[in-house]
Amino acid sequence: MSTSYMKYLETTIAKHQRRIKKIKENPDPSKLQSNLMLYEIELDETIAELEDFKAGKPFAAGSPGLLMRAMGFSSSGGFGAADRTAQGEGSTRYLDSLREGGWPELACDRTVVSVLLVTGGDCPKPDFFSICNMACEFSSYTSHAMAQWGQVPYFVVDIGNDANEENLKYVADQLGEEIEYIESKVHGVKYDEDKLIELQGYDREWAKISREIYEFRKRRPSPMNPRDAQRELAPMGGRRFPQRCLEYMRAQRDELFERYEKGIGVMPEEKVRLLWTTVGINYDESIYKWLEDQGVAIYYVFGMHAHFMGLRGGGYGDPWNGRKLTPLEEEARSIFYNSWNGRGQRLIDDWGFIAKDQGVDGVVYVLQPGCLQTLNLRKPFTDAMTKAGLPTMGLEIRGIFKEGYNQKDVKAKLSNFIEICSSKKQEKVQVA
């Protein structure tokens, strides 16, 4: 397995290197130049991962990522690694492996692919799994399956339905127990609270820059094309080079502002602005160029970032019921504020807030097979959007497995929907 993993990482490194070389030799002025910084970070992260692996450093997988980093674990790709499999032959190869292994075919592909990455030897078998249902139960099941398959120690951090005092104590207590458990089970790791505080600081800064970009994106025409809109970086405290990630975020922000002033990369004519939920079409980047050509600006929401960005409270450092939280309580809050948890109204409120705040004209509600959080929330969500005057279209696609994907059909559906949104928008203008 180690040979296979090393080969996988070496191949990934070569891919990153080729991409960076290509960009340096032939820069595309239509694309954000700061992207290069991100690719260089990803290259160095992969190199560091390989070095850690060769040096026998302990790896952990799962959430909360910040705590795992503060314990001194190295980490592998997670969702990022899973999403990368959508490029090229990965999106069919892993579907074949899934069927062969008897794993649930209709599970969310972004989660189940993680199992295949580990059982297939393309990601290291971690030394520890932190199993947490902060986002969805499939992420718990995949971690649990990997832990059971590899007979690896694991700890379950369970999250309640509501963001309240009971859950704060519940989750924080479990994190405390998890630290004790890890220190007793895994050699070479120890909880470093100062490190956790430092990492939370990076995420706080990330949230600040993200909010600046968020505010900037309210401008019309949209300062960001649909492809770049998909490129939002997840919170970075759990990443290997958080400082560099912040530098990238600042560079991206500054470049966006600068380009906007010069009229570069700005949507020439914004016909409609759409909220796009749940998952992107990772295996077909050309769809985003097509959307841009149709004059469609996209705001992409995955679920948790309304709170991670602190848009609706609950960011690192924010007071809680008038008091400052301890570092572990901060982690607890960041976990249970994830609105994929609890009643659907939390997700409806968060996405509805962004839809209104960003002034979108309609919502593409992605129906990703296996996403139980969103699939059967479609009707209540659509009803809420309709009440807010926003047309909503369900679009059935998967994030990684492209089997059954038909670009022509997707374009046809989107075209019709764009027209509906556009007409509705014009009606509103006329009424106003």
Partner: protein
Amino acid sequence: MADEEKLQELLSASRRENWAKPAQEWQQKGKKVIGIIDSYVPEEVLYAAGILPIRIMHVSHKYITLAHAYRVVHTDAYYTNVLEALLKKELPFIDGFVFTNRDDDSRRLCDVVDSVVKPPIAHLMHIPRTTTSPAVRRLGEEIVHLGEALNKVWGLNVSDDALRQAAGVYNKNRELMGKLYELRKQDVPPLTGAEFLGLTTAAMVMPKDVFNQKLEPLMGYLEKRQAPIRHRRPRLIVSSDALDSREYIELVETTGALVAMDDLDTGSRYFTLLTDTSATDIKAALASRYLNRPGCPRMMSWDTQIALIIQLIRDYRIDGFVELPLRNSFAREFRTPILMHALEEAQIPAITLKREYEYTNEAQLATRIGGFIEMLGVSASA
């Protein structure tokens, strides 16, 4: 009435044509009925409040005409059928609902029922997925919240004394069922596998004290009774969730086997483990019981669950394991490869065959089960 007649009456209580009767009678007395869809709701709280908790069953529909407006096809079919029944107003004998976060889909079912069906109460309980002490404490808090919700909506109170008494009634039920299940270890058990499912599901729709009063006098008779089985071997264990159609068990048995044990949330997992009624904190004792009973695959304790299944296989002298996962019950589907690997390591023959919620595809299932039975190479007629 002869004992056999009394037994048949009890067994028929959960049949499609009868299962609603206890709830209807309860309602006619001016009392409330709460529908539940999984075995994690601490029913004792409802019972202590004078409410009849009833497991929603037999809601299969040949055609789903309304629920798919709210639920996509590739999700839990049991939940879809429950919603279909509600939208068609087929369950007027249910006044409200207590849901749990058994899985992500059940939370969404709660959302839809709450916003579309609009019952007086659609309460969502958080059931931890682990058994740590914070988890037990957390479920204890959830039990308090359930009591508060019942009080808010219907003005009903749940005292600790009433809760302790309810736990005693439920324990009595579990003890009786446990004794009966012990008899499944015999070569010829007192009931067929299908009859056992009939009995456990009857306990889920009847008031527990009434069920106990009917079952207890029959225990002596059942100890001597020999089930009308056609095959003593192979002895199989069936594992699934939300299985309320005894036809599935009958299918396995008529194909040429004895279902000598089950791993069902409508079977052994429902009643195994008593509540410590002598505990100072009865809510904590209830929480501990519900979290520590044999776990459904949603619990993050697959190693323990698998070890228990293997133990049951040894204790009940089982020849083969038959898993009948409800299609799109994802927790189980994620566990299956791990479970099958463990059974293979333990040299236990096993098969997994996906099923629909409604009883269908019987010919295909019979062929596959028949092939499995043949492969086992053990056969003994009764």
